[in-house]
């Protein structure tokens, strides 16, 4: 990550910490609404890579605030939601790892049991897939100057992949936590409930799968591969 993005993330963490109790005020005050506005128009001049990084933090710290809506327009809300979901899934995994390392049963930490290890490996694969989808979508959006139409395939694929990960990630996170994860006091629901909500927001699985499936069918069997490679080769040239 670039130094500028590191700084942006540090700012986001500090501002979102305030916003967690104070609401949108600090976020608007800190100028996050200008993240995508060009520098010569007094904006921050950020790209979708920056948005992805900031929204992953928002997905953990302020999942109930309208940060994505502040930063991006309606057509990019599905893409923004992927980033929120990636962040929340990363946090669900982190909480789960922390918990199984601490909680002891049968005389050892839960994380020492192979069944628990294998569950968390499955979960980690899903989280990694969604992080990759969010990053690849960001690369595409930045290569096409945030034109949602030119990134339609990637938006559909990434949102669908993120949606499909929700079931596995929330189920395993809650399972390894036991009863404590089902309490209001414990932080897990702060990411798992938003994940359940985001799965249905801005297009559920069937919506995106049918859209993507029809698009892919239009390319034809061999055309699907040709199209996928052409789109990624292009954005490498643009970088």
């Amino acid at each position: 990550m670039s130094a500028a993005r590191d700084m942006l993330c540090a700012t986001a963490r500090a501002v979102f910490a305030d916003a967690a109790t104070a609401g949108m005020g600090p976020i608007e005050g800190a100028g996050f609404g200008l993240l995508l506005v060009a520098e010569d128009q007094d904006g921050f001049g950020g790209d979708w890579g920056d948005v992805n990084a900031v929204l992953q933090i928002a997905g953990v710290m302020v999942p109930d605030l309208a940060v994505a809506e502040l930063i991006a327009g309606q057509a990019l809300q599905p893409a923004a939601t992927v980033s929120l979901m990636a962040g929340a899934m990363g946090q669900a995994l982190a909480l789960s790892i922390e918990h199984v390392n601490m909680r002891q049963q049968f005389g050892r930490p839960l994380g020492k049991f192979q069944a628990v290890q294998q569950s968390l490996a499955v979960m980690a694969c899903e989280v990694r897939a969604v992080e990759a989808a969010a990053a690849a979508l960001a690369a595409r959006l930045d290569a096409v100057n945030l034109d949602p139409l030119a990134a339609d395939f990637e938006i559909a694929a990434a949102k669908l992949r993120a949606n499909r990960a929700v079931g596995v990630v929330t189920a395993i996170a809650h399972q390894v936590h036991g009863a404590i994860g089902f309490t209001k006091d414990y932080d897990l629901h702060r990411v798992t409930i938003p994940l359940m909500r985001w799965r249905g927001a801005h297009g559920n699985d069937t919506y995106w799968a049918q859209r993507l499936g029809r698009q892919a069918a239009g390319f034809g069997g061999r055309g699907l591969w040709a199209m996928m490679t052409e789109r990624s080769d292009v954005h490498r040239r643009a970088e």
């Binding site: 499955v122 694969c125 992949r161 799968a209 499936g213 029809r214 892919a216 239009g218 996928m228 990624s232």
Partner: protein, 379 residues
Amino acid sequence: MQGFALYPFDPPGDIAALRADLRRWLADNQPRGDVVARANCWASFDPDFSRALGAAGYIGMTLPARYGGGDRHPLERYVVIEELLAAGAPVGAHWIADRQTGPLILRYGSEDQRQRYLPGIAAGELYACIGLSEPGAGSDLAAVRTTARETAEGWRINGQKIWTTGAHFSHIMLALVRSEEDSERNAGLSQLLIDLDTPGITVHPIIDMAGHHDFNEVFFDDVLVPNGALVGERGQGWKQVTAELGLERSGPERYLSSHALLVALVDAAGPDPDGEMATLIGELAAEMWTLRQLSMSTAAKLAAGDDPMVEASVVKELGNAFEQDMPRRVQAIVDCGWDDPDDLAKLLRALLVASPSFSLRGGTREVIRGIIARGLGLR
């Protein structure tokens, strides 16, 4: 392993041109043949095709030119192999030599070994097999018992390998053997490069459940190979094998070997599929797109000199699941008989039968998940 970004996949040169050249070459040179050979195509053996591919410069691409290689960047090679796999080209003869044995010889081999083997590998004429598994050493690879004793005349090898893919057509085996007497587990192991025409070696076919002869048992009965057969450092076999497995597990073959089925499905569905079919194609396309991002990032990390053991395992785990899931889901919604003669039915049957092996070969699902769990700090 949390929150890591995608490694930028940034090969030098004009990648679109590299792809276009290869696609043209394939249009002229890929055998039309049986559609089933296009599925699981890195198990499809076709020495004529391998030789032609080598002559065209698409094998041993990353090896130095002085050994017959192409001096190309590893990510240029990645682009070439993803194209070959997506096209279902029959790359099985040279696959292992190109993917792992060649690079291992370059990294750990002696000058002699490099000169002797690498030009043949790059030409697509010299084939290799992987001698790891034994009857008592499957997931538990550190249990290998095949011994090699150093004598004045050379290494004397006794024991047995099993499940050795391609041993019946390969020229060489890179074998993991116990070189140190009374050693245990992963200490005292070495890698030997064994010419398979050496006296005392017997190769027995094992026919798989699809009726194919891909893997074998290989017996070593007092086999004498030169002292120069040792690859790398004596006793460091475990470390070297770990590097080899990194190459074995990180490639696009872990999600692209069944691509022929997706191609046939999309073609059979036509341009205006109904809702259920569109949903299936969409879900498969999304998974494949995601896996491609993960695979490219892993390749880029490997090319940058980092060790992507955990990332490679994520690609293998998700890729195996994708490729095992795909034929089952296709069968669930497509109405075709087991023996129907059309492409889709033939591919479907071939992949339903082949797919149980996907999460066994190259490390079982449970072993791979164990590696990921270690990456999470749980073991």
